[in-house]
Amino acid sequence: MLTFIIYKSILVLIVFLISLGVAAYATYGERKVAAFMQDRIGPDRAGPFGIFQPLADGLKMFMKEEIIPTVSNKFLFILGPSLAMLTALMAGVVVPWGGKLAIGDHYYPLQITDINIGILYVFGVVSFGVYGIMIGGWASNNKYSLLGALRASSQMISYEIAMGLAIVALVMKTGTLSLGEMVAQQGTGGWWNIVYQPLGFLIFLICAFAETNRAPFDLPECETELVGGYHTEYSSMKLGFYLFAEYINIFISSAVISTLYFGGFNLPFQSHIPLDGNWLVIAQTAFFFGKVIFFIFFFMWVRWTIPRFRYDQLMNLGWKILIPLAIFNILATGVLMYALGKV
């Protein structure tokens, strides 16, 4: 029992640190990708190729003057970014980061917990994530912040529906809500879920962009209309928390997309690879992180390619295109499963 608790605590700590580390270097990666897309050099002052830039940024965030508006609600003003950070870090608990490491005669699974409703847990955390933005935007006591917060909440609620419906079709296909089992299914038989659910994947991906407030859906912080959106009044590390939470969300979304649709930690043609035991587990985890990093890059690629939507376009896309498409996807999945005798 005690070793179990110690082992799980260490795993939680590692996932926590990796989330923070990946998010920190995602900010660096974002600037490098942006520079590459725009034919610039990007950050190159701090260390070779600027690789210490995230540390310098973090230090800057901590050292900056912290301003709390006097007319704002102080407790809620601080609660906002804390909640954003908390909910961003919570979803990593159910993601299967790898297989089972064998040390001695004990097996140590690289997933913190495989609850039987894993995907719904991710959903719950995502749906709760909007409060960080809403509370922060309201507590700032600023019209622009409030407008940004209201935009964020209506956007996230709208796209959550389509996201949920996309997942329903996936759950129909896999027959389980547990992320661990989904990965196991994709590893042992047949293809990855992207082959069975291409439309569902597309809907899920678009909704993931909207849920993380990334371009082209970054209307909550649209600087041409709203100054800075929901974090207009924030400074110092509280602003840093909001920005950082966004990158953690990207990391977790990428991990969830890889898990659900791209085979999780499974290697392609896994049964033909002459690796076994711990080496296979390590290779799988490395490959999983490869997939995750690719999706993080994809998030950046889209951001620096596609301009921002207008607000009515955003709502039309969510309600009139994605939701009907997702319902059609459920129907088509059901009909196909019935026709192929899989029910």
Binding site: L76, I115, N116, I117, L120, Y121, F123, G124, V126, S127, F128, V130, Y131, M134, I135, W138, L146, A149, L150, S153, S154, M156, I157, E160, L177
Partner: protein
């Protein structure tokens, strides 16, 4: 005492306290936030009863969707102490009387009730999604479908009401 008993008392304390704060706090936004805390405490109770599916859907539906809309509307209306209209005394008296009648009904109802222990709910699988789905789609198929029709009607009604003019 078992750990789950400590958790039960802690969650009950949080649920009751935050539920009280919902009605005691003057600021409507604070009330909504306390209501969300109450929902979380109740979801914790579901978890203690091994009903994970119920707990998570409770959080997704109530805390994640309905309360966001509540908060949305209250923030849009921007209610606060300064602009809150002064209430007359008659509604207050009426509210006190009706609340007292409700209290009396509850007490009368609960007086005859017996305290029963649920048969080992903690270790049963009754709340898991597997058994829940089977019960819902086999034993309660018809009520389930009828309630979904009800929701559809409510949705159509909401869309109808929010349309300014009908073409």
């Amino acid at each position: 005492m078992l750990l789950s008993q400590y958790l039960f008392f802690f969650l009950s304390f949080v649920a009751v306290l935050s539920a009280l704060m919902v009605i005691l706090d003057k600021n409507p936004v604070h009330s909504v936030l306390f209501l969300i805390v109450t929902f979380f405490a109740i979801a914790g109770h579901y978890l203690l009863l091994n009903a994970q599916f119920l707990a998570v859907t409770h959080i997704i539906v109530y805390a994640g969707a309905i309360m966001v809309l509540f908060l949305y509307v209250i923030m849009m209306l921007n209610l606060n102490k300064e602009i809150e209209p002064h209430k007359k005394n008659i509604p207050k008296v009426a509210a006190v009387i009706s609340a007292g009648v409700l209290m009396m009904c509850l007490v009368a109802l609960l007086k005859g009730a017996e305290v029963q222990m649920l048969p080992a709910a903690r270790n049963s699988n009754i709340g898991l999604v597997d058994s829940l789905g089977k019960v819902l789609f086999k034993e309660y198929m018809l009520p389930f479908e009828i309630s979904s029709v009800l929701f559809l009607a409510a949705m159509v009604g909401a869309v109808f009401l929010s349309k300014k003019e009908i073409h």
